[in-house]
């Protein structure tokens, strides 16, 4: 029987079959009456959590505002100023609890599951085209302008520094020079969405900030999105070392390293890609990823980026 019924497991470990209404024990896999396969919805508890949390928040807000109001009014009538202040403080906090939004964070697993297929498509594309060169992040400018990464077929003088105009190109297969081997694939950076979100949350165009402010801006941006803390950023001769402490997406980062090794090493996982795109934008230099080592147990990530020369500002030579 291919039909499947959902069963909600109650606090007593028993509920009803949604097909025939027969009582179901929590460990039953099939309905004892109609024989339908049962799918337990343990995840339902998790799905309900935000609503429950929102309800609790509203209750706390109303409670504080009401207590504050009542204490304030009675204290005013009795003429006890510190108690009026106490009531006012409670009322204010209650209003804040009710009015200030609590950002709805989607579970990291849901984000990972929804973005994984598209990232695997890039991995397959890289594998099919047998692209072994590292992706080159093209410096972009402009508020929340998404960053692009160019993966050359082979490294030639032309593909080493692809033209800046490629940022506006919507093509995938591009030729950046006069020779046939000056070709490559132009992709939206996997972390371009994160990078744009960082810029929007900080209301800052990263291409206009000073190098000394880079650590602060990246750290604030990643923290505002609840993704990570950027703990250090050190400039080397031609490279840049960044240490991060992830607060979410650890599973996605770890999973991608196993499922999409080419994407992880050549282009970067979404967080690494966002960092590379941000550095490229802020420094105005081409950036490639040298290494991005993840320590899942400590939730730490160490990224080494290579900065390539200053960007030249000639036109697009996309196909």
């Amino acid at each position: 029987m291919s039909e499947t019924a959902w069963v909600a497991v109650g606090s007593l470990g028993q509920s009803d079959c949604w097909i025939c209404g027969e009582d179901i024990l929590s460990d039953d896999s099939f309905c004892r009456n109609c024989g339908v396969a049962l799918a337990h919805i343990d995840g339902k508890r998790e799905a309900r959590q935000p609503i429950g949390r929102a309800d609790r928040r509203v209750s706390v807000g109303i409670f504080l505002a009401m207590v504050g109001g009542i204490v304030g009014v009675f204290s005013y009538l009795l003429g006890i100023v510190p108690m009026i202040a106490f009531g006012l403080a409670s009322f204010l906090i209650g209003i804040m609890v009710l009015y200030l939004p609590n950002s709805e964070f989607i579970s990291g697993n849901v984000v990972a599951d929804s973005s994984l297929p598209s990232l695997l498509n890039i991995e397959n594309l890289l594998e099919d085209l047998d692209l072994d060169e590292r992706g080159i992040y093209i410096p972009s400018s402009g508020f929340a302008v998404s960053s692009k990464v160019f993966v050359p077929l082979t490294i030639t003088p032309a593909t080493k520094q692809p033209p800046l105009g490629l940022v506006q190109s919507r093509r995938i297969f591009v030729t950046v020079g006069k020779n046939a081997e000056d070709r490559g694939v132009l992709l939206e950076a996997p972390g371009s969405g994160i990078l744009s979100a960082i810029e929007r949350s900080l209301n800052v165009d990263l291409s206009e900030i000073q190098s000394k402010d880079l650590l602060g801006n990246l750290n604030s941006g990643f923290k505002a999105l609840g993704i990570a803390k950027v703990t250090s950023l050190e400039y080397g001769d031609a490279d840049l070392r960044i240490q991060m402490e992830l607060t979410s997406f650890v599973n996605l980062e770890a999973k991608l390293r196993n499922l999409a090794p080419r994407l992880s090493t050549h282009i970067g996982t979404p967080i690494v890609s966002a960092v590379a795109g941000g550095i490229s934008k802020a420094t105005g230099k081409y950036v490639t990823i040298t290494s991005a080592i993840l320590d899942p147990s400590n939730r730490k990530m160490s990224i080494v980026l290579r900065l390539i020369a200053s960007a030249r500002k000639d036109g697009v030579t996309g196909e």
């Binding site: 100023v81 006012l88 204010l92 906090i93 200030l100 950002s103």
Partner: protein
């Protein structure tokens, strides 16, 4: 803890400490308490920043209201001195 929760927690801590300290000092002017509550919101929000865009929008409205309250209290005091 999310940023807004941290802000509310920090603000509560500061505000109730203020009430406690000022009541120990036998402060009897409610406008002093109110003005401090307004200033303390700015301190708490700076301490707990950054916020996401949606959080920032509402926080700014809250800040503007509290700033108006603070300006009102200060203006009243200044007028009192001048008159």
């Amino acid at each position: 803890m999310k940023n807004v929760d941290t802000l509310i927690f920090t603000y509560s801590l500061i505000v109730f400490s203020t009430v406690f300290i000022l009541s120990l000092l036998s402060e009897e002017r409610i406008d002093v308490y109110a003005a401090l509550f307004a200033v303390e919101f700015f301190i708490a929000s700076e301490l707990t920043s950054p916020f996401s865009q949606a959080e920032n929008r509402r926080k700014t409205i809250m800040e503007m209201i509290l700033l108006a309250v603070f300006i009102g209290i200060v203006a009243e005091r200044v007028l009192e001195v001048l008159m």
